[in-house]
């Protein structure tokens, strides 16, 4: 009996030693050694750690189908390995589902966020390639090319691609809007303003309730110094999309303080961290002589004041998506 106990104890010790050596080998990237040691350790069906690292080793060696049943998304490393494995075997749906689980548990983890970005990028590339191969003559090819060029600050090339897209499908929504934006991103000279305005007007013919186009036309009128022309555009933008914060702010700035304040209160309610909205509200309160409320807005602004957004956030802003209707 004592001999059996001694044998069992020795076996456990040996298994534990194999597990730790296996984990060390895994962490050193010596996967073949890790695989052998961890298989040995995993003979103990109760050694969860050995099973986990065995699965991680199998995943690292590309044996995803064997590894996946033992890679729970509740564990950070296992979840990351599982997401990579699902992507590797072409099950993108499960890859994204796993990553979404991970994101909830580890919201600011750089590895999780990186993998998420990378898989989305891969999905984007795959879809783009598929479109270029499967529908090369579609206006969508030019539309997508234009959007990519826009992000790269190559506005005149982007505009040319939008024009090609419009030529192929003059009735497609959004193309004139995006073309107008590309023109504005390149220049604000009077001639460019007029060309951009023509595109927004063309978009409105296709989509008469496009609040973003109304807003852009208002902005163009303002840049051209035509305040009176700007106002009805902002009014229409707000009427079409009551939660359009930028339009609310723009309209408020053209109104006397008593009319501006409710618009701006709504803007800060919709976007409490919008510095521009708070600043406009501060100014409106100030102009109304309500210095107490102006001071309160200043205090909020002071809190919101932070270093200006990074170049990357600027880059993302340039994607210029239209605001969601609210």
């Amino acid at each position: 009996m004592r001999a059996i106990s001694c044998f069992l104890a020795a076996s456990l010790l040996w298994a534990a030693s194999a597990r730790e050596e296996g984990i060390a080998a895994f962490e050193a990237g010596r996967y073949s050694v890790a695989l052998a040691k961890l298989k040995e350790a995993a003979k103990d069906s109760h050694d969860a750690r050995a099973h986990l690292f065995l699965a991680l080793t199998q995943a690292a060696m590309g044996d995803c189908r064997t590894a996946l049943p033992n890679l729970p998304a509740t564990d950070r490393l296992a979840g990351l390995a599982a997401a990579k494995c699902y992507a590797a075997i072409g099950d993108e749906g499960k890859a994204f589902t796993t990553l979404e689980e991970l994101r909830k548990r580890f919201p600011n983890d750089a590895d999780v966020l990186y993998l998420r970005a990378r898989l989305h990028m891969k999905a984007f590339n795959d879809a783009t390639l598929a479109m270029f191969q499967g529908a090369p003559a579609s206006y969508r090819v030019h539309e997508l090319s234009a959007e990519v060029l826009e992000v790269q600050n190559r506005y005149s090339e982007a505009a040319a691609e939008y024009r090609k897209a419009i030529e192929l499908n003059p009735a497609a929504p959004d193309l004139h809007y995006r073309l107008g934006r590309a023109i504005l991103l390149e220049s604000h000279n009077p001639e460019a303003l007029e060309r951009a305005a023509a595109e927004f007007r063309a978009e409105l013919k296709l989509s008469p309730e496009d609040a973003a186009c109304e807003f852009q036309l208002g902005q163009i009128a303002q840049v051209a110094g035509k305040q009176a022309e700007a106002k009805p555009h902002f009014e229409r933008a707000v009427a079409l999309s009551p939660g359009f914060v930028q339009a609310l702010i723009a309209l408020a700035k053209l109104e006397p303080a008593e009319k501006a304040i409710p618009l701006l209160k709504k803007a800060v309610e919709l976007q409490p961290a919008n510095e521009g909205a708070h600043y406009a509200l501060l100014t409106a309160y100030r102009n109304a002589g309500d210095m107490q409320k102006a001071a309160a807005e200043k205090a909020i602004l002071d809190k919101l004041q932070k270093p200006a957004g990074s170049e990357f956030s600027e880059f993302l802003k340039k994607l210029g998506e239209k605001p969601a209707k609210q």
Binding site: Q152, N153, E186, S187, H188, N189, Q222, V223, G225, Q227, I249, K253, E275, G276, H278, Y279, A280, L282, T283, R286, N287, A294, A295, K298, L301, Q305, P307, A308, S310, E311, F312
Partner: protein, 546 residues
């Protein structure tokens, strides 16, 4: 009825005959020394980008404004000396900097003038990356470095930028405000492309100012014995914390007789220090509406011009900004609050990066026009398809007299058709013909002197000398009443970008041949009035009493 017609017809007539005509006479006038400032084709550090300012001031008291132009250096080469161009008359200048003892070199930046020791001779403060230098005007054509004697800092490294002599406590002695740009340690500053803030439009460029340590501004109180005491903390100057400060000007924005201070800040909120009349200041840029643009967004503030552009009796502010942005025009609503009316006033967003700026009545019609010096900060943009050029034209906006400006650059003569790498800008009637000239400091190039040949109306130049007040009369408010309209201006030290405009105030009178009254509100509190004064002369006025 006929009279009514005349009133309405006049502005129309003025509009139709306006034709600015500026010629660059720098070379012919002897302004030939080249500015040296950092790399010409690329800039590794922000230090290489800020450039120099200039001062138009009469250092030898001969009644003609002279010119001082600061100069810089390159990273691996010694600096070039500043120039002191003596106005010889007849449009000629002679560089006497060496004889005047202004041979010091280094990373000079800006300049402001003021008679800090009240000896009747205007002195100079030249800001440096390093330590600033106070040049005391000895009165014999020579300047002496009085920095140490005046107990201003002579050790340590600070990135001095704009400056202004200002008698903030109205004790009759000029105090000194100095802005600082970046708390810059070159050894710790990354190189182009090496950091988050080291790229622009996807090209590697020098880093900053974002990402670099912010700097604190400084206020030095004049002790009245030729020395200064740093009162930055007790006066409330440090309270707002660090900024990237550039242009500075002191002026009485709320008409309370006490000078306030405005600092244009790069990518940080600009500062308005309101004078609390007790030796302290309250920073209220944000509440006042001069810290950001109309959207509450940060701007790359560079230079400042101050004038009552719309004739409502309050001093307004123009501020230059980065490429693609508007030149800010902050309308002074009531002395306390300003509104950014850049768009409404017709100042257009263009791909120009503004530096020096001045309100100057180029055609003497009684409305101060606006001139803006431009030049990109990154020479690396040249030759790339980014929509920006390194050399950029100087822009002239005509004041239409109705709160709006019109860009008249294209018809402002050959000097406005030349793109330049401009930084400092100063104005003054250098030839005494009643039409102010415009001086531009061009980075790594020779300066430009834009001779004003614009046909215009009548004018008055007013030169003040303080007695109870500081001798430079800095802070004195002048109100010229003519034709039923009051025109105001103030003697200011430091303005534009890193520069000093002439202390002689210039008033355009249009068709009027005389001013009905000239009123001077001296910093001492004395109010002086002169009766009807014929136009087209320089009136020299000394403060009454001692």
């Amino acid at each position: 009825m006929r009279r009514l017609f005349a009133i309405f017809a006049l502005p129309v007539l003025a509009a139709s005959i306006f034709h600015a005509d500026f010629r660059d006479i720098a070379a012919a006038s002897g302004l030939t020394a080249k500015n040296i400032f950092g790399g010409a084709a690329r800039k590794d550090f922000i230090l290489e980008t800020t450039g120099n300012g200039a001062a138009i001031f009469d250092y030898d008291g001969d009644g003609r404004d002279d010119i001082f132009i600061a100069n810089g250096r390159q990273l691996n080469s010694p600096g070039a000396p500043a120039q002191l161009y003596h106005n010889e008359g007849a449009g000629h200048f002679r560089d006497l900097a060496k004889q005047a003892g202004l041979a010091r070199t280094g990373w000079q930046q800006g300049v402001c003038s003021g008679d800090y020791d009240n000896d009747g001779r205007p002195d100079l403060l030249v800001t440096f990356y390093g330590h600033n230098v106070l040049y005391r005007n000895r009165g014999d054509g020579m300047f002496e470095d009085a920095t140490e004697k005046a107990k201003l800092p002579v050790t340590g490294v600070r990135y001095g930028s704009g400056c202004s002599f200002v008698d903030y406590d109205r004790d009759g002695y000029l105090d000194l405000f100095v802005a600082n740009y970046v708390d810059l340690d070159l050894a710790k500053t990354p190189h182009p492309g090496q950091g988050e803030f080291c790229e622009w439009k996807s090209i590697p460029v020098m880093c900053g100012p974002r990402g670099l340590p912010k700097a604190l501004n400084a206020l030095y109180h004049n002790n009245g014995d030729g020395t200064f005491t740093d009162v930055s903390e007790s006066a409330g100057i440090l309270k707002p914390g660090g900024r990237y400060g550039l242009g500075v000007v002191a002026a009485d924005f709320d008409n309370d007789g006490w000078p306030d201070i405005y600092v244009a800040c790069d990518m940080t909120p600009s500062l308005l220090f309101h004078n609390r009349r007790d030796g302290t200041f309250e920073e209220r840029g944000m509440e006042a509406g001069v810290a950001f643009n109309f959207d509450g967004a940060l701007q790359a503030g560079m230079g400042i011009a101050v004038a009552d552009y719309d004739g409502d009796g309050l001093l307004d502010i123009a501020k230059t900004n980065f490429s693609g942005d508007l030149t800010s025009l902050y309308h002074n609503d009531d002395g306390k609050f300003f509104t950014d009316v850049s768009r409404q006033a017709g100042l257009r967003a263009r791909q120009f990066l503004g530096w020096g700026v001045a309100f100057v009545d180029v055609d003497d019609d009684g409305w101060r026009d606006l001139v803006v010096a431009n030049g990109h900060v990154y020479p690396e943009v040249e030759g790339k398809q980014l929509g920006d050029k390194y050399l950029q034209p100087t822009i002239l906006y005509r004041n239409l007299g109705n709160g709006k400006f019109s860009d008249v650059t294209e018809t402002a003569g050959p000097a406005f058709q030349v793109p330049r790498p401009a930084r400092g800008l100063a104005t003054g009637d250098l030839d005494g013909d009643g039409r102010p000239e415009i001086l531009l400091v061009n980075m790594n190039a020779t300066p430009s002197l834009l001779k004003n040949r614009t046909p215009g109306g009548h004018y008055l130049n007013i030169a003040l000398t303080g007695t109870k007040s500081n001798r430079s009369a800095i802070g004195a408010r002048v109100i010229v009443t003519a034709g039923g309209r009051k025109r105001i201006d103030e003697v200011m030290s430091g303005a534009s970008y890193y520069s000093q405009n002439s202390f002689t105030l210039h008033f355009g009178l249009g068709a009027l041949t005389a001013a009905d009254e000239i009123e001077i509100k001296w910093p001492s509190g004395t109010i002086q009035r002169l009766g009807k004064t014929p136009a087209n002369q320089t009136v020299k006025i000394t403060e009454p009493g001692k």
